[in-house]
């Protein structure tokens, strides 16, 4: 086997791996959203193009899901604060 990389290169590589892993997590989220929003919005037989309502449903589905996540986090923080002052 070849010699090991020097310390600077090792650091650079581990940073590279971290960036790539973040990218992979981003892609994974996009796969999950596409699958979920496809099931929610595309109920008919596939056509040569999306109808206007399908297309807006897909776009809104992502935004509303992220709204939901943010709302839930705030709600939990709110409940925790209330619990603290009781």
């Amino acid at each position: 086997m070849a010699d090991k990389f020097d310390e600077a290169t090792q650091k650079e590589l581990s940073q590279f791996v971290e960036t790539e892993q973040a990218q992979a997590r981003l892609h994974q989220s996009i796969h999950t959203f596409t699958s979920m929003c496809w099931d929610k919005c595309i109920t008919g037989t596939p056509s040569t193009r999306f109808s206007r309502s399908e297309e807006s449903c897909l776009a809104n589905c992502v935004d509303r899901f992220l709204d939901t996540s943010l709302f839930m986090v705030k709600q939990i923080e709110h409940q925790r604060e209330q619990a603290r002052y009781q």
Binding site: M36, C37, K40, C41, S56, C57, N60, C61, D63, R64, F65, D67, T68, S69, F71, M72, V73, Q75, I76
Partner: protein, 88 residues
């Protein structure tokens, strides 16, 4: 050495606790989005009040369900273990 051991253990503990909380959050978001946002429209604000009420109740109910399921499951697992010990 003992301090370093404790540090390692605490890190493992908090990583697992974080993973557990994230899984609970993911499941809650998934279930409550499915229940409360049936037709995604341009904003949560059109019938926003109805939506946020639904989401807020759904969050409480899902946590309640999680706690109930935990209680029943742990009780059952303990009972089965006792049965096993008695039958040996």
């Amino acid at each position: 050495m003992a301090a370093r051991k404790e540090a390692v253990m605490n890190q493992i503990r908090s990583e697992l606790a974080l993973a557990n909380a994230q899984e609970l959050m993911n499941k809650t978001n998934e279930k409550c989005f499915a229940k409360c946002v049936t037709k995604p429209s341009t904003s949560l604000s059109s019938s926003e009040e109805a939506r946020t009420t639904c989401l807020s109740r759904c969050l409480d109910r899902y946590m309640e369900a999680f706690n109930l399921v935990s209680k029943v499951y742990i009780a059952r697992v303990s009972k089965e273990r006792l049965n096993e010990r008695d039958s040996v």
